[in-house]
């Protein structure tokens, strides 16, 4: 395993968006490092810029300042075909209507490696089966993607990302729409993939208590700062008290969750 190798690095970046030809900076001087074998959660209030950060880190949009390095190479210098072999994503948005089976859906993850018509080789098939087994979704492989539950679909989408065989996987709020049991099982799966497969996994979430217990590191976005730390350090630095602008929401370091005053 290549545990410990730096996969993704943000060098003093400013993130934001361009509206009406005007740069709007959401957050600036962000330094982040993501290593293989770690599960990192991005935490922050609604509208603080989590999605902007993820979009910048995945090369969908460029940072206003600074650079994002993927495997020591600027992410903007990758071609989309090349990037697809280094980075895979899992989204929350619902899938367009289709007849795709679970197996076919996971097989789409092999697209960066297949020929122009997308024929699967023996290696592709073994990667797909491996991904299905790792996510424990192999029993669903013959079902249509709309016949399975939200929790199962989320795992299948992770299997698709695994089949894409990339060192870095980025998930956009994977635990929304799920109940507690499925949230926990999903995060456990991500943790397992990080430790056992040496993947570098980055996800955004609103479930702080779960993120504290199951992630290796947290990126906490507040109005003024973006910091990266281990869960323990985050609690000690009392940063969570500044997460929400509402003084009535305070963080209880003993319980590891928020209480309302």
């Amino acid at each position: 395993m290549t545990t410990g190798k730096t996969i993704l690095q943000a060098n003093t970046i400013s993130i934001g968006y361009t509206a009406k030809k005007e740069n709007r900076t959401v957050a600036s001087s962000i330094n982040l490092i993501f290593k293989a074998g770690t599960l990192t959660a991005v935490i922050g209030a609604n509208g603080i810029g989590k999605s902007t950060l993820l979009r910048t880190l995945t090369g969908i949009q460029k940072p206003i300042e600074g650079s994002v390095m993927l495997n020591d190479k600027n992410i903007s210098s990758y071609t989309s075909a090349n990037l697809a072999q280094h980075l895979s994503i899992v989204l929350t948005e619902s899938l367009p209507p289709s007849n795709l089976t679970v197996y076919e859906l996971v097989a789409l993850g092999r697209q960066p490696y297949t020929n122009w018509v997308g024929n699967l080789t023996t290696e592709d098939r073994s990667k797909i089966n491996e991904a299905l087994q790792l996510t424990q979704t192999d029993h669903l492989s013959g079902k249509k993607h709309f016949e399975i539950s939200d929790g199962q679909l989320q795992k299948v989408l992770i299997a698709r990302a695994l089949a894409q065989d990339t060192p870095l996987i980025v998930l956009d709020e994977p635990t929304t729409h799920l109940d507690l049991q499925h949230k926990v099982s999903l995060l456990r799966l991500l943790k397992k993939l990080a430790t056992e497969q040496g993947k570098c996994i980055l996800y955004s979430t609103h479930d702080l208590d779960l993120a504290l217990q199951l992630s290796n590191e947290l990126i906490v976005m507040t109005q003024d700062t973006v910091t990266q730390n281990t869960p323990q350090q985050c609690i000690e630095s009392k940063i969570f008290d500044r997460l929400f602008s509402d003084d009535g929401i305070i963080f209880d370091p003993v319980k590891g969750s928020f209480t309302i005053r």
Binding site: A81, N82, L83
Partner: protein, 344 residues
């Protein structure tokens, strides 16, 4: 691999149906020609009557080939549109491509009186009509795409398609006021749609354009599969979305524009056939759907064309009427059988 066996069976059946209907299409009509003579004529021999030989080579065979090409082209266009717009109700006619092509043709036929005679001659040639028609459908498709970029809501795109249809209809209506009775008649006959009466050189042109469109569609088969998960996933899997979208649009406008130019605006085929393929083959893989849609499109069009010639009579119904009569109930049935996989 139960699906594989199903696919092989279906492909075999469709292949047989295609050959049978192609021959039946040539054999049936106002004059019924025995199958033996049909085979003799199209394989280079002589039919037992010279008149039969003449009818087959100069009338029936061109018509059957046009039906084949039109069925294939419109259906593949529909398949491409449905995946690109992530919308089961997308199709060349629903999105207003047919109307765009009609508008182009209307300009050429109806407005030719305003132009000087030399220019009018160029415009009214087969190439002029094809070009105007392709340009018309291309412009409408670009406009729809521009709207689709701004509006994520697929329902809105369909409504915009409807608006285009009535808008172009209105312009054609205005144009008719400024045209002669002769021009009007020519346009009306074109608008009713007919697969027959195409000279061989037009058929050769149509074949080339349909082949070009199919080739372009074939290149996009893999990106189309990725697009089943939506634009963002497709991009993350290394698909060059802009290029793919451009090829799909170009292929669809070429197919729809050219077929509409020669055969008139044919409704429903582009919408219905991809659905039949998806329901029968129970798959979303475009590699299979491409061939399935192609075969079903050809078979359905040949069948519809057989129905246009009422057996034993010399009446020929407009092809557009037949496809609509068959197509509309199929769409309604599809909607009533709402399944999450197709409509959600």
């Amino acid at each position: 691999m139960q699906n594989n066996r199903l696919h092989i069976t279906l492909f075999t059946l469709l292949g047989i149906a295609l050959i049978v209907l192609f021959l039946a299409n040539i054999s049936l009509g106002a004059v019924k020609i025995p199958l033996y003579d049909v085979l003799q004529s199209i394989t280079g021999g002589e039919a037992s009557k010279t008149s039969w030989h003449y009818i087959i080579l100069n009338y029936r065979l061109p018509k059957a080939i046009t039906a084949l090409l039109a069925g294939i082209g419109l259906s593949i266009g529909g398949l491409l549109m449905q995946t690109l717009f992530r919308n089961p109700l997308a199709g060349p006619d629903v999105l207003g491509l047919n109307s765009g092509a009609s508008l182009g043709v209307a300009f050429v036929i109806l407005a030719s009186g305003i132009l000087p005679a030399v220019l009018a001659g160029v415009f009214l040639s087969a190439y002029g009509i094809v070009l105007a028609s392709v340009a018309g459908s291309f412009i409408v498709l670009l406009a729809i795409l521009a709207v689709a970029q701004r509006l994520r809501d697929t329902m809105a795109i369909l409504i915009i398609g409807l608006m285009f249809t009535s808008f172009t209809g209105a312009i054609v209506g205005v144009l008719t006021y400024f045209s002669t009775a002769e021009q009007l008649q020519k346009y009306t006959f074109w608008a009713l749609g007919s697969l027959g009466n195409l000279p061989w050189n037009n058929i050769v042109l149509l074949t080339y354009v349909v082949l070009a469109g199919l080739l372009m569609a074939a290149v996009t088969l893999k990106p189309l599969d990725a697009l089943l998960l939506g634009e963002r996933y497709a991009k993350s899997m290394g698909i060059n979305f802009k290029r793919t979208r451009f090829i799909i649009i170009l292929a669809t406008s070429l197919l729809t524009g050219c077929i509409t130019a020669f055969a008139g605006p044919i409704a429903f085929v582009g919408l219905v056939v991809p659905h039949m393929a998806k329901l029968l083959f129970k798959t979303s893989s475009h590699k299979i759907l491409f061939w399935a849609t192609l075969l079903i499109g050809a078979v359905l069009m040949l069948l519809c064309d057989i129905f246009t010639q009422l057996p034993g009579s010399s009446f020929i119904l407009p092809i557009n009427a037949i496809t609509s009569i068959i197509g509309a109930p199929v769409v309604i049935a599809l909607l009533l059988n709402k399944r999450k996989g197709i409509f959600n």
